[in-house]
């Protein structure tokens, strides 16, 4: 764990302690379980986003995708009577195809990630609304999927299974990002795509793969979100979720220029964001201020991090000059 991640962890604990002191309900099992469920859902989404951001790209369409894929999933199993494992695989494949399309437009046709995914944001939202005729996708009364519901919205030993899912995905993705050849390529491309290309890396394929990973993880989280809310009105479901994911990555130390950030960082970023949401609720802050609180904290966090970097660089120089002075008389 890097010092940056450690700092973020301490911040999370300090904020948690303060909230717990002001309102002890923060520590109630039911509250912790709810919060960790949301951490699980948003965490999966944010890890996907992190893989794109590490390449220096951005994926703005994930909120709309959560709405579209969630709508399709519920429609498949509730209306069309598809077996849920089949529907799940289908949705994940759909997520992968959409990610591939984004990656293809960005790497082969050289469109900017911002533009491509902004169009995606608009298109998928529109398609989702059209698909339900601006209605709501939901389950009929008495419709049950016990296995699926256990895996997505259920709990084991009091802990939401979505949180366990996040832990498993995080461990796998940590290995991919920080230990694998592919992960090294991602960092290299994020730092300097030209130099990576001149080192014989097929940069286009790697970047495309990052968008595919993002698409698949988004699709998975879309299913989790769908099973969590159980009914989806595509006009608002998943709105701004791309910003939650980006914010989690930025809080976790990712640079939007690419090449920087860690998996632990993005998880901690997600935890802090959900903690803040919870804080707004528990401290009786008007929920209309929700976004303002989040924005303020992110701004302060990024500012402190940046200033801390400047401070450390200065101290290193002072230390170095002290060392040379101390060494001088001995010569």
């Amino acid at each position: 764990m890097s010092k940056k991640d450690l700092g973020l962890l301490i911040l999370i604990l300090v904020v948690g302690a303060i909230v717990a002191i002001i309102n002890p309900r923060f520590l109630l099992p039911i509250n912790l379980a709810n919060t960790s469920n949301l951490i699980g859902l948003f965490g999966i989404l944010s890890i996907g986003q992190a893989f794109v951001i590490i390449t220096g790209g951005i994926e703005l369409s994930v909120g709309s995708l959560v709405a579209l894929l969630g709508t399709l999933f519920i429609d498949f199993i509730a209306v069309r009577g598809m077996g849920w494992p089949v529907a799940l695989v289908l949705i994940l494949v759909l997520g992968a195809i959409i990610g591939l399309a984004h990656g293809w437009l960005i790497t082969r046709l050289k469109l900017q990630p911002f533009v491509v995914t902004l169009c995606g944001l608009l298109i998928y939202r529109g398609v989702a609304r059209f698909y339900t005729a601006d209605g709501t996708a939901g389950f009929a009364f008495g419709q049950n999927f016990p296995d699926l519901e256990f895996l997505t919205a259920g709990r084991s030993w009091g802990v939401p299974n979505s949180f366990f899912a996040l832990i498993v995905i995080a461990i796998v993705m940590w290995v991919v990002l920080h230990r694998s050849v592919f992960g090294r390529y991602l960092y290299a491309i994020g730092k300097n795509e030209e130099a990576a290309k001149y080192s014989g890396i097929r940069t286009g394929r790697i970047v495309m793969a990052a968008y595919v990973i993002c698409g698949v993880l988004t699709a998975l989280s879309a299913i989790y979100f769908a099973m969590y809310t159980r009914s989806i009105s595509p006009a608002s479901h998943g709105q701004f979720y791309e910003l939650y994911a980006i914010a989690a990555a930025v809080l976790g130390g990712f640079s939007l220029r690419g090449g920087e950030g860690s998996l632990i960082g993005v998880i901690l970023g997600t935890v802090l964001l959900q903690e803040l949401q919870n804080l707004v609720n528990l401290l009786g802050i008007p929920s209309s201020l929700n976004f303002a609180v989040m924005g303020g904290v992110i701004l302060i966090g990024v500012l402190v991090d940046q200033q801390w970097g400047v401070f450390r660089a200065r101290r290193r120089m002072i230390d170095a000059s002290r060392k040379t002075m101390a060494g001088a008389p001995a010569e």
Partner: protein, 512 residues
């Protein structure tokens, strides 16, 4: 000091430094350094990388404060200069990396931030007056382009002229040129040296910093040599010659340079053959070229003659618009650099920092990057395998760094270049293309890189070296191919080597 051989000796100095010392944590960058610059004098400032040249420039530019010492500018003594003070007293810099706005035209660049304004509250730029102000400046630097040309459309030498015109526009009395010719081809270099002479004739002093000693030889009235932060010596006009400068720079005489009289090597089989290759920049001019095993083929020519573009096609970065490539007699299709690498065709690119290495990665990570799967088990990177490969290259190439985990961004240019070489040498090169491999690298490291290229050729690798440095091309190559406007204008064998022949071919004429 004795300047008896120059007539300018009598006039008082415009700038003088006395006993200037500057230390950084852990290093003494300048130690008791003194020098003088007289009006209309051209000073050649030479020294290896790390000798203290950049510190000296920072002090003159007012960016850095010296620890002790006196700086006298135009009769006024200071302990240190400020940026405004330096500019105000007429010291202007033309940096190696040009500071021009490529998307603006020449006039806008020269008077950027000081544009003449029309009357009225809108403060619109008075374009007519701007043009009349720029015209005489461009004339003085001998510009062959107009004031409303976009800077992006100018050649490098022309851009430097714009920088110099900018210096003249602030009524500069001392122009400091930092490595101005390092990226210029021969003909353009001549133009720049002419501009220096014109400045001198106008009574403007010039400090000319360069690694290209023969150019220093041509324009300098006096040469100041820095070594390890100290004044290694000053050479008066009559004593300026290549060997003297080198001797002062490194503190000893270099070994007799490899004589061209070496027994002609038996040419090996053709490794890489270009047959009617059409590069994107000169699509109508097909190129035929053979690079043989065991030879160093020098590729000379003016900047913009299509050498780098050809190298990009050989390395799979750009697709050829026509023609075919052959490797060892078999047709070769390249759709990416990855394909070229897979075939053992490697490129050491021109722009080290942008394309050669990743400055943020460690030496080990850079060296393993092109061959990462070989340093991995079940596609997980093995740090120990990486370290082992990098340690070997570090030892073989003499990369000077605390460890292979050191960030490459902290290394000197020469050591960075060795990392670029190391990443390819760790694999199995068949064809090694080097684009300006010694640009901005000090003399010691240059000699090592020449040695490496020769060792590669001796091991049967086909080496293609692009270079704008005439001495280098003639001194290192076994054959020289010269490009002119996208085509190979001629190929010289060892017995035809001469600066004149290369130059004639480079401008499209026949050699003698």
């Amino acid at each position: 000091m004795n300047y008896s051989d120059t007539s300018i000796a009598a006039t008082t100095a415009f700038l003088s430094l006395e006993n200037v010392r500057k230390t950084y944590p852990g290093v003494v960058a300048l130690d008791g350094f003194s020098m003088e610059v007289r009006p209309g004098e051209v000073i050649g400032l030479v020294g290896e990388n790390g000798a203290g040249k950049s510190t000296l420039m920072k002090i003159l530019g007012g960016v850095t404060t010296p620890d002790t010492g006196t700086i006298t500018v135009d009769g006024a003594a200071h302990n240190s200069l400020t940026v405004e003070g330096s500019l105000g007293s007429g010291i202007a810099f033309v940096h190696q990396e040009l500071n021009l706005f490529e998307n603006l035209d020449v006039a806008a660049n020269i008077f950027f931030g000081r544009e003449p304004l029309r009357a009225g509250p809108l403060k619109l730029v008075d374009r007519a007056r701007l043009r009349t102000m720029v015209a005489p400046l461009l004339k003085r630097v001998g510009a062959n382009f107009s004031a409303d040309t976009q800077v992006a459309d100018l050649s490098l030498a022309q851009q430097q002229m714009v920088e110099i015109a900018k210096a003249l526009s602030i009524k500069a009395r001392l122009v400091i040129l930092d490595e101005p010719t390092s990226s210029l081809p021969i003909a353009e270099t001549d133009k720049l040296l002419d501009v220096i002479k014109a400045l001198k004739a106008d009574g403007i002093s010039v400090i000319f910093i360069s690694h290209r000693l023969h150019e220093v030889e041509r324009v300098a009235d006096r040469v100041v040599v820095l070594r390890d932060g100290m004044l290694a010596g000053t050479l008066g006009k009559r004593d300026i010659n290549h060997d003297q400068m080198v001797k002062l720079m490194i503190g000893r005489m270099l070994k007799e340079r490899e004589k061209a009289s070496e027994a002609a090597r038996a040419p090996g089989a053709v490794a890489l053959a270009a047959k009617a290759i059409q590069t994107p920049s000169y699509p109508s001019r097909p190129v035929d070229l053979d690079v043989r095993r065991g030879e160093i083929l020098g590729l000379a020519g003016l900047v913009g003659s299509g050498r780098t573009e050809l190298a990009r096609v050989f390395f799979g970065i750009d697709a050829s618009l026509g023609g075919t490539l052959e490797l060892d007699g078999k047709p070769l299709a390249l759709s990416s650099a990855a394909d070229a690498v897979a075939h053992g065709i490697f490129l050491v690119p021109e722009d080290r920092k942008l394309t050669g290495i990743l400055l943020d990665l460690s030496i080990a990570q850079n060296i393993s990057l092109p061959n990462l799967p070989a340093h991995a088990k079940r596609s997980l990177v093995s740090a120990s395998a990486e370290t082992a490969t990098a340690e070997k290259q570090k030892k073989d190439l003499g990369i000077k760094a605390p460890s292979v985990q050191t960030r490459t961004g902290t290394l000197s240019g020469g050591n960075q270049q060795k990392v670029v070489l190391g990443k390819w040498l760790a694999m199995n090169p068949k064809v090694m293309i080097l684009d300006e491999p010694t640009r901005g690298i000090d003399i010691g490291a240059k000699a090592e890189i020449y040695g490496l290229m020769r060792a590669l050729a001796d091991a049967g690798v086909a080496v293609l070296m692009i270079s704008s440095d005439m001495e280098e091309v003639i001194g290192v190559s076994d054959r020289i191919a010269v490009m002119h406007e996208g085509q190979i204008s001629g190929i010289l064998d060892k017995d035809q080597f001469s600066q004149e022949n290369v130059l004639l071919l480079a401008v499209g004429k026949q050699p003698r």
